[in-house]
């Protein structure tokens, strides 16, 4: 079996190189049969990579321990779903998954009927990236390496990875990372063919939004996994690897916004090229961080030779792309005009500034330990307080901008319009701030966040209400009909607003859980009750029960808030057959106001136990905001009338 897999990998590599040669020869000699053959090569690459991927999946599911990877990450008693997810539990397997998806995407793209003139270049770029991954799989990280001798039982999967979050988090993240290859490839194709219009942006818009959505999901599910699995009561620790997936998300978000300025006003061409190149580079860089182990992290796969390969590839791809961009700079320059200082386009620029500054600060903080060690020789740590201190104000300014942007028009705004548009949101912000003060909130950050988020929500709803009003006046439709039609005929714009609402909800959750979180530890005997933050917690004793391949020890706990209806929860320690350390599973009771998060920290002979309790306000808003974001993205992507771009405001001469 292993031989089939490895052979397929080698064939896939050969196919990808064949496709590259055919593309180059076909473009040089302008022979369409060569180009068609190259397309065949791309498809062949995808097919053989899929065969390799399928082989590894089959071996994982059937526990074929003749292969090192299967023996290393699975065991016979592992539930089938986790045997499957072991595909991305280790270095080699996750690289194979990457190549699998990438080559499939490449095949889907080159088979497209439209834009045939760009395809040879797009296909070449995608094949270069694919060939790199396939090379790694064949020679550096072969997932089909055989075991010497007989292996009866595998090591099993790391217990921390045996969680539903781990099924979705890596795969969505990879889809996001890989997806950005498509707009990158089209951008490079546009540069090579000297097409300076916004065609490449229009073609790849759906890919871009979809990749961005997957990257958002990847980050969110990662946060959720950390929250329910790591047991420290939080969801984001500014770990280098978390940062590595947040940074391209930020530059990708900047790209999504700045392309609108190019579509509407034919400006920012160089900047958009720069952003997509950087975003693609950062997706590779994120992978480099995980694989190389150069920065301390909980996630490291740690393999230094692989890290070096990635670094070389990143440097080559980035210098090649930037050389191309520099060479075409003259073509992309255009006479720029803004009608006024304050306009929607200015707010887009500010949005880009904040997103890129935030991305830069996170990259800088993540890499600073390495830089500092190289310069001064002493190791330092850049931890969460650094990232919070810098990104909290940038984040809030960014959210405020999200509220301001819809209120100002394209091209220019006069003061009268501005005041009339700002009145309602300002009023909402003021009202909410006063209400929060009355509720007893005094911390500056809480009040500022309250004011800003209510401003944005009011601004978005005002925008919809006004739009519906105008539409009704023009068409005479009824309220529900005109609301639905307004939203669905401008999918892109209102999808964007829905996403903004989701982000605002997430910010509310992040602010609440960071500013007003509380933590207690308590040791109690069976039957004892303790009181904390309005909760009364009764511990009824320790129980033990087998579950699937594990043994679960849980505390029987009854909790009631402010004398309300009591609920039972069970914080657990789970003992896995393949791991000495039990893993801690928190029990969480979640409401819109706050999460009651309890961990069974340890126990004594006499059944007395120690609990760690976190009260995390508003966390549910974070997850709910994530789902709104997904809905908004799908709303915007839904094909049909209204998913295109709005009016163009080109300079008239």
């Amino acid at each position: 079996m292993a031989d089939i897999g490895y052979f397929a990998l080698v064939l896939a590599l050969v196919m990808s190189l064949y496709a590259l040669v055919c593309y180059a020869a076909g473009l040089k000699t302008k022979r369409s049969d060569l180009l068609a053959s190259a397309t065949g090569g791309v498809i062949g690459t995808a097919v053989f990579t899929a065969v390799a991927g399928g082989t590894l999946v089959y071996m994982l599911v059937t526990s074929d321990f003749s292969v090192e990877y299967v023996a290393m990450y699975t065991s016979t008693d592992l539930p089938t779903i986790y045997k499957l997810t072991a595909l991305w539990a280790g270095n080699d397997g996750s690289l194979l998954l990457w190549a699998w998806v990438l080559t499939a995407v490449a095949a889907a793209v080159v088979l497209g009927k439209k834009n045939r003139d760009l395809m040879p270049y797009v296909g070449s770029v995608m094949m270069v990236v694919s060939a790199f991954f396939l090379y790694l799989l064949c020679f550096e990280a072969n997932p089909f390496t055989k075991v010497w001798g007989m292996v009866q039982e595998g090591n099993g999967l790391n217990p921390m990875l045996q969680n539903p979050g781990m099924i979705i988090h890596p795969i969505t993240l990879y889809f996001g990372y890989i997806g950005f290859t498509v707009p990158f490839a089209f951008a490079i194709a546009a540069l090579i063919t000297r097409q300076t219009d916004d065609r490449w942006i229009k073609i790849t818009r759906k890919w871009t939004v979809l990749s961005w959505l997957f990257l958002s999901l990847g980050n969110l599910y990662g946060a959720q996994w950390a929250y329910v699995e790591l047991g420290w009561g939080g969801y984001w620790a500014w770990d280098p690897v978390e940062n590595a997936s947040l940074i391209p998300w930020l530059t990708g978000s900047a790209f999504l916004h700045s392309v609108m300025v190019q579509e509407r006003k034919n400006m920012l061409k160089i900047w958009n090229m720069f952003l997509i190149i950087i975003t693609f580079g950062l997706t590779l860089f994120g992978t480099f961080l995980v694989r190389s182990g150069i920065v301390a992290s909980v996630h490291s796969f740690g393999n230094s030779s692989l890290g070096a390969m990635f670094l070389i590839f990143i440097i080559l791809v980035m210098s090649g792309s930037f050389y191309l961009l520099a060479d075409r700079l003259k073509l992309l320059r255009q006479s720029n005009e803004f009608e006024g200082l304050i306009s929607k386009e200015s707010s887009f620029l500010l949005n880009n500034l904040l997103l890129v500054a935030s991305a830069f600060s996170i990259l800088w903080g993540t890499m600073f330990p390495v830089i500092s060690e190289a310069v001064t020789g002493s190791k330092v740590t850049v931890g969460p307080p650094f990232f919070n201190a810098i990104n909290a104000p940038i984040g809030l300014a960014f959210v405020l901008l999200m509220g301001i942007c819809p209120l100002i028009a394209w091209r220019r705004t006069n003061l009268k319009n501005l005041i009339s548009n700002f009145l309602v949101p300002m009023g909402a912000a003021l009202a909410v701030t006063v209400a929060l003060v009355f509720l007893g909130l005094t911390k500056t950050y809480a009040l500022v966040t309250g004011a800003i988020t209510s401003f944005v929500i009011a601004a978005i709803f005002q925008e919809v209400v006004k739009g519906v009003g105008v539409r009704r006046k023009m068409t005479g439709e009824s309220l529900p009909v005109s609301t639905v039609r307004l939203l669905t005929r401008n999918r892109r714009r209102y999808g964007g607003y829905i996403i903004h609402l989701g982000i605002v909800m997430m910010i509310i959750g992040i602010a609440g859980s960071n500013i007003y979180n509380q933590e207690f530890t308590k040791t109690v005997r069976p039957g004892e009750t303790f009181h904390t933050s309005g909760y009364s917690v009764t511990y009824n004793g320790l129980q033990q029960t087998p579950k699937a391949n594990t043994m679960v020890v849980y505390a029987d706990v009854e909790v009631s808030k402010d004398g309300g209806k009591p609920f039972a929860i069970k914080p657990e320690k789970v003992f896995y057959p393949t791991s000495e350390q039990p893993s801690t599973e928190p029990a969480i009771e979640s409401t819109w106001l706050e999460d009651f998060y309890i961990i069974l920290a340890g126990w004594e002979q006499d059944q007395s136990v120690s609990f760690k309790v976190n009260i995390n306000p508003l966390v549910k808003w974070l997850w709910a905001g994530g789902y709104i974001l997904v809905f908004g993205s799908i709303f915007a992507l839904w094909p049909g009338r209204g998913s295109g771009v709005g009016a163009k405001y080109l300079a008239r001469s």
């Binding site: 803004f338 500034l353 830069f360 903080g365 330092v380 740590t381 931890g383 307080p385 068409t475």
Partner: protein
């Protein structure tokens, strides 16, 4: 625009990291020190779950109870484990760069954006002076016609 930029840079430059949390000494210590047993994992002490983290937390509690100040405890930990034990680099020497560069970059970027936009606005007004031909306002009949036309697209 100008005002927004100024306000933004002020927010970035003057909001100190301390404001985000105001807890007592113990809470501050466990969030400003890394977990000594798992430095390679890059976890702050407050988040550490294993025995090593618990030991360090107990040690800090003991030291506080014995009357040591926050600074004394931090210094003792730095002496023991090196600067790496601090959750953030201190604001002196080369490490100051960690703190300075992001706000400086943001301010620089803001200045760049402002100058660019101002230049673009000048471009526009310069051109408009040459070709000034504001068309006549739409008369009411045309406006009705326009309304009718637009309905077809709604």
């Amino acid at each position: 625009m100008k005002k927004t930029i100024i306000i933004l840079s002020m927010v970035i430059l003057f909001v100190s990291p301390g404001q985000a949390r105001a807890n007592d000494d113990y809470d501050e210590l466990i969030t400003s020190l890394m977990c000594p047993a798992c430095l390679s994992h890059n976890e702050i002490l407050a988040n550490g779950q294993d025995a090593g983290a618990e030991q360090a937390k107990e040690d800090i509690k003991r030291r506080l109870a014995a009357g040591q100040t926050k600074e004394e405890i931090i210094n003792a930990y730095v002496a023991l484990y090196g600067e790496q034990i601090l959750a953030v680099p201190d604001k002196s020497g080369f490490n100051l760069m960690a703190w300075l560069l992001p706000p400086v970059a943001l301010a620089g970027g803001a200045a760049f954006v402002y100058l660019a936009v101002r230049g673009w606005v000048k471009n526009h007004s310069g051109r408009r002076n040459i070709t000034r031909d504001a068309g006549p306002a739409i008369d009411p009949v045309d406006e009705d016609r326009l309304d009718e036309e637009m309905k077809k697209y709604l």
